[in-house]
C-alpha cells in the first residue's frame, strides 16, 4: 500500500471534532435535561399555587428539596455511569420479579397520573391562548398535542425534540424578570428561603407536599439513569456527571424559586384568592407575569406552560414504557413496528391516549388535576428510596463505586424526612380536624 508523507501536525485528539465545550455539554446533559423537565405542568402549577396562596412562606422548602434531590439523583447517575443499565433493569436483576412488578405498577400509576396532568397543562394553556374558543380550545389542542408527541417521539427524532423544547424552556426566564420588576421585599425573600415557616393547616400541608412531590419524583430517577446509561459514559466521567446532576438540580430550583417569588410579589401581595378547583385558577396565576408582560402576561404564561407540558408529555410515557419493558425483558425500541414490539407500543400509546382522554373530560378542574400527581408522587417516594439505597450499596453491582457513608447518612435523613411528611399528610387526610383548616 502506498505510504505517504509523515504526520507533521500534532495529533488532534480528544473529541477535537466536537470541541471542548461541546464535550462538556454532551456530558453535562442528562442531569440538566432531567432538571428542566422536572419543571413541568405540575411543577409550574405547584410552585405558582405555593406563591399565590402563601407568598414566600414555602421558599425554604426548595432548599430542603435540593438537599433531598442530591443523594437520589447522584445515586441513579452513578449507577447509570457505572453499570450502563437502567434503574428497572437493576431492580429486576437484584430483587427479582415480584418486587419489580409492584414497583412498575406503582410507577405506571404515578406516571399515568402525571401524564394526565401534562395534557391538562396543554389544555389549560390552549384555553388561555384562545379564551374566545371556550372548551373547544382544549378539545382541539389536546388531541393535536397527543398525536404530535406520539409521532415526533416514535417517528421523528426524540433527541432533537428534547433539545428544541429545552431551548424553549428559556421562556422561564420571564418569571425571573417579572419577579424583579415586581420589586418584592428581597430581604424577606432571602430570609424566608433559609428560615422555615410552617402553618399547621390542611391547605398549607397540601401545598407543602405537592411542592415536594413535584420536585422529587420517581420518574426522574428512571429518566436520569436511562439517560446517563445511554450516554455510555466511563466511570472516569463520574466527576462530570456529578457536576451535571448538581447543575440540573440548581436549574430546577432556581426556576421554582422565581415562579414562587413572581407569584408571591403579585398575586399573593394583592390578595387575589386562587383556588385550584376553580376553572379560572390559571388565568389568575398568569397575572404573576404582568409586571413584565402587562396585558400579554396570559400569553407568556400560556406559552411557558405549553412548552413545559409538551416536554414532560414526551418524556414521561417514554420513560415509563422503557422502564417496564426493560424490567420484563420485552422487545423495545422507538423504531420498532407493532409486530416487533407489541408491548412497548401498547404501553406507550395507552399512556398517551389515557392522558389525553382524561385531560379532555368535560368540566375537569384543570389546576386541581395538574396538582394531584404531585401528591401521588410525594407519597411514592418513601417506597422508592429504600430500593435505590439497596442497589446503590450493593458492591456486586457497583464495586468500588458503591455508596459511601456520607451518601447513606444523607439518604437516611432524606428517607426519614419524606416518610415524616407522608405521615403528616395521611394524618391530615384521615383526621381533617387535626390541623384546623
Amino acid at each position: 500500500m502506498a505510504r505517504l508523507g509523515k504526520l507533521e501536525q500534532p495529533l488532534r485528539f480528544v473529541r477535537s471534532r466536537r470541541g471542548r465545550l461541546l464535550v462538556l455539554i454532551s456530558v453535562v446533559g442528562p442531569g440538566v435535561i432531567t432538571g428542566v423537565t422536572d419543571d413541568d405542568a405540575t411543577g409550574v402549577t405547584g410552585y405558582a399555587l405555593a406563591g399565590s396562596q402563601f407568598g414566600y412562606d414555602l421558599l425554604w422548602v426548595l432548599v430542603v428539596t435540593s438537599i433531598c434531590l442530591w443523594p437520589i439523583m447522584e445515586m441513579v447517575a452513578r449507577m447509570g455511569v457505572v453499570t450502563g443499565k437502567g434503574l428497572s433493569d437493576l431492580m429486576r436483576e437484584r430483587f427479582g420479579v415480584a418486587p419489580t412488578l409492584w414497583a412498575m405498577l406503582l410507577l405506571f400509576i404515578a406516571n399515568a397520573a402525571t401524564t394526565v396532568a401534562e395534557f391538562t397543562g396543554i389544555a389549560a394553556a390552549a384555553q388561555l391562548l384562545f379564551p374566545f374558543a371556550g372548551d373547544t380550545a382544549r378539545y382541539v389542542a389536546v388531541p393535536i398535542a397527543a398525536v404530535l408527541v406520539w409521532v415526533l417521539v416514535l417517528r421523528g427524532n426524540f433527541r432533537i425534540v428534547e433539545r428544541v423544547l429545552l431551548v424553549l424552556s428559556l421562556v422561564f426566564v420571564a418569571y425571573a424578570i417579572s419577579a424583579f420588576m415586581a420589586h418584592p421585599p428581597w430581604g424577606q425573600v432571602i430570609r424566608q428561603t433559609f428560615i422555615p415557616t410552617f402553618h399547621a393547616n390542611t391547605g398549607f400541608i397540601l401545598i407543602f407536599i405537592s411542592v415536594i412531590g413535584t420536585t422529587i419524583t420517581p420518574w426522574m430517577s428512571f429518566f436520569q439513569q436511562s439517560n446517563v446509561a445511554d450516554k455510555g459514559l466511563h466511570p472516569a466521567d463520574l466527576g462530570y456527571e456529578r457536576a451535571d446532576t448538581a447543575i440540573g438540580i440548581f436549574m430546577t430550583q432556581i426556576i421554582a424559586f422565581f415562579i414562587i417569588v413572581a407569584c408571591g410579589a403579585t398575586i399573593f401581595a394583592h390578595h387575589v384568592a386562587v383556588n385550584p378547583s376553580d376553572p379560572s385558577a390559571f388565568s389568575k396565576i398568569a397575572l404573576s407575569l404582568a409586571p413584565l408582560a402587562g396585558q400579554y402576561a396570559t400569553l407568556l404564561f400560556a406559552l411557558g406552560l405549553m412548552n413545559a407540558s409538551l416536554m414532560a408529555a414526551s418524556v414521561l410515557p417514554l420513560t415509563t414504557t422503557y422502564a417496564i419493558t426493560e424490567a420484563f425483558g420485552l422487545e423495545r425500541g422507538i423504531d420498532k413496528s407493532f409486530r416487533e414490539a407489541p408491548a412497548f407500543l401498547t404501553i406507550y400509546t395507552t399512556l398517551i391516549v389515557l392522558g389525553a382522554a382524561i385531560a379532555m373530560f368535560p368540566g375537569a378542574p384543570l389546576a386541581l388535576i395538574t396538582n394531584l400527581p404531585n401528591i401521588v408522587n410525594g407519597l411514592l417516594l418513601p417506597l422508592l428510596l429504600p430500593l435505590l439505597l439497596l442497589l446503590a450499596n450493593d458492591r456486586r453491582i457497583l464495586g468500588r463505586y458503591a455508596n459511601g457513608l456520607f451518601t447513606n447518612v444523607l439518604s437516611g435523613a432524606v428517607f426519614v424526612f419524606l416518610t415524616g411528611v407522608t405521615v403528616v399528610f395521611l394524618a391530615s387526610i384521615f383526621f381533617p380536624g387535626l390541623f384546623g383548616s
Binding site: 500500500m1 501536525q9 495529533l11 420479579v97 455510555g232 422507538i334
Partner: protein, 433 residues
C-alpha cells in the same frame, strides 16, 4: 424482519414432569426425621456439557449454608427431604465452574439466538435424567413471569376458559453459554461458536441493547476480524469508543488494526487523549501511521472522511508488473476497483480500472493506457462536494489530493452515503435509552 424462532415446543429431553427453579426457591427443607431445617435459597449447578448438573443447595435459616445435592432424598410438593438429620449436615465443597442459579442466572439478560434479541431469564427449567437434576432450558415467556408471582394457575385457568393454548416459551440451555466478564460475575450469552457465525450487522444490533460491560464481554468473545467488522457496523462513535475503552489495551489495539483506517481514526478521535495515544503505540507501526495521518484532518472534509486503503502504482510499471504489485498489496474489496497511477513523488497522474489492467498486453507501460483525466478532490473539500463529484461521475471512489496534487487517500461511495443520507436512514437502530 427475522424468522420467528420455534416457540413453545417442549424440549425432547423432558419426560412428563416440567420442573422449574421457581418451584424450588423458598421451598421447605426437612431432614430424615421430618424436622424442618430451613428453606431453599438457591441451587448450585456444575457447568457440565451439554446440560449443567445440580450439585448443591444453598439454604437459609440453617447452620450450614450449603449442602451437596447428594444429600437430597426426594423432592415433592414444595418440600425437599434430606437423607440425613439436620445436625449431621456437612457443607458443600465449592468448586470451580459452579453457578448459583438464582443469584447469577435468574432475571439476567440473555441473547435469544433465534430471535436475535435480548430477553430476560424469567425462570429456569430443570429435568430429572438418570437420577441427576439437569438445567435444560430457559423460560423467557410471560408464563414464567406469572409463575414467579404465583399467578400461573390463574393464567392457565383464564387461558383454558378462553379456549387458548398457553405455551411455555423456552430456549434450550444448549443454545446458551455464560460468558465471564471482569466486572459482574456472570453474564448469560449465546454460544461463542454461534456468535462467530452471525453477520456483523446482526451482532451489532444485539450489542446495541446490552450494557457497556456486556458489550465488551461479547467483543472479547469474537476474533479480531469479526470484532473489527462488528465495531464498524456500530455507527455511534461514542459507543464504539466505550466498548474499546473497556477492553484491555492489547486486545483493543488488535481490533483497531483489523479495522479500516478511516473508521479506526474516527473512533480514536472520540476517545480520551491518553487512551488513544496508548492504543496507537500498541498498534503495528504501518497501521498506526495510516490512522495518525487521517486523524490530522477535519472530520467534515474529504481528508477526514477518506481512507488510506487505496491502491497506487508507479507510472513506470508495465501492466504485468502492476498486476504483480496488486497481488503483493492484497487490497480490500472496497479499494480494488480503481488503481491509481502516481509518479515517484506520489503526484496523481491517472487511473486504471481493474479491467483495463487485465485486458492490456502484459508488457505495455501503464502510463500509455491509463486514463489521464482523473477526477480528484482536495483534502479540504466538504463532504457535500465530495458527494457531488462521486454522484456526477458515477464513481465508486474518488481520490483525495493535497495542494500539490499528491494523492492522500480515497473516499468511497459507501463512506459518503453514510454521511450524506439523513441520519434516520443511515442509522441501523435508533436508541434513546
Amino acid at each position: 424482519m427475522f424468522k420467528e424462532p420455534s416457540r413453545g415446543k417442549v424440549l425432547p429431553l423432558l419426560g412428563t414432569s416440567v420442573i422449574f427453579l421457581s418451584d424450588f426457591l423458598n421451598a421447605e427443607v426437612v431432614d430424615v426425621k421430618q424436622h424442618r431445617v430451613g428453606r431453599v435459597q438457591d441451587l448450585i449447578v456444575l457447568m457440565t456439557d451439554p446440560f449443567p448438573k445440580v450439585t448443591g443447595v444453598i439454604l437459609k435459616g440453617t447452620r450450614v449454608r450449603s449442602i451437596d445435592w447428594s444429600l437430597v432424598r426426594s423432592w415433592d410438593n414444595k418440600e425437599l427431604s434430606l437423607k440425613v438429620e439436620g445436625s449431621q449436615l456437612q457443607p458443600h465443597q465449592r468448586m470451580e465452574a459452579e453457578l448459583w442459579l438464582s443469584r447469577q442466572v435468574l432475571d439476567k439478560q440473555i441473547v435469544d439466538m433465534d430471535g436475535r434479541r435480548v430477553v430476560r431469564v424469567n425462570d429456569l427449567q430443570l429435568s430429572q435424567v438418570d437420577g441427576n437434576l439437569l438445567l435444560v432450558g430457559v423460560d423467557i415467556g410471560a408464563r414464567g413471569l406469572m409463575r414467579r408471582v404465583g399467578l400461573e394457575g390463574l393464567g392457565r385457568r383464564v387461558a383454558a376458559m378462553l379456549g387458548l393454548d398457553w405455551p411455555h416459551k423456552l430456549i434450550s440451555w444448549e443454545a446458551v453459554d455464560p460468558v465471564k466478564s471482569d466486572v459482574s460475575s456472570v453474564k448469560l450469552r449465546i454460544a461463542h461458536t454461534k456468535l462467530a457465525g452471525m453477520h456483523p450487522a446482526d451482532i451489532a444490533e444485539i450489542v446495541h441493547e446490552l450494557s457497556p460491560d456486556d458489550r465488551s464481554a461479547v467483543f472479547a468473545a469474537l476474533d479480531d476480524e469479526k470484532a473489527a467488522d462488528t465495531l464498524e457496523e456500530i455507527q455511534e462513535t461514542g459507543m464504539q469508543a466505550s466498548i474499546l475503552e473497556r477492553l484491555d489495551v492489547e486486545r483493543a489495539s488488535d481490533i483497531l488494526e483489523a479495522m479500516k483506517p478511516d473508521e479506526a481514526a474516527d473512533l480514536l478521535a472520540d476517545m480520551p487523549k491518553e487512551r488513544a495515544q496508548l492504543l496507537l503505540q500498541k498498534m503495528e507501526e504501518d497501521e498506526a501511521e495510516d490512522v495518525e495521518e487521517l486523524l490530522a484532518y477535519r472530520e467534515d472534509t474529504a481528508g477526514g472522511l477518506m481512507t488510506t486503503g487505496y491502491v497506487a502504482v508507479l507510472h513506470t510499471l508495465t501492466a504485468a508488473q502492476a498486476i504483480d504489485r496488486l497481488r503483493e498489496l492484497e487490497p480490500d474489496a472496497e479499494s480494488v476497483y480503481y488503481v491509481y497511477v502516481i509518479d515517484e513523488e506520489e503526484h496523481l497522474l491517472g487511473v486504471l480500472s481493474l479491467r483495463d489492467l487485465i485486458v492490456a498486453k502484459p508488457d505495455t507501460r501503464i502510463r500509455d493506457f491509463m486514463i489521464e483525466k482523473v477526477m480528484s478532490v482536495p483534502v479540504d473539500a466538504s463532504i457535500r462536494d465530495v458527494g457531488a463529484v462521486i454522484a456526477k461521475y458515477n464513481l465508486l471512489a474518488v481520490p483525495v489530493v493535497d495542494q500539490h496534487n499528491r494523492i492522500q487517500g480515497i473516499v468511497t461511495v459507501d463512506d459518503v452515503m453514510d454521511r450524506v443520507l439523513p441520519p434516520r436512514v443511515a442509522a441501523r437502530r435508533r436508541r434513546i435509552f
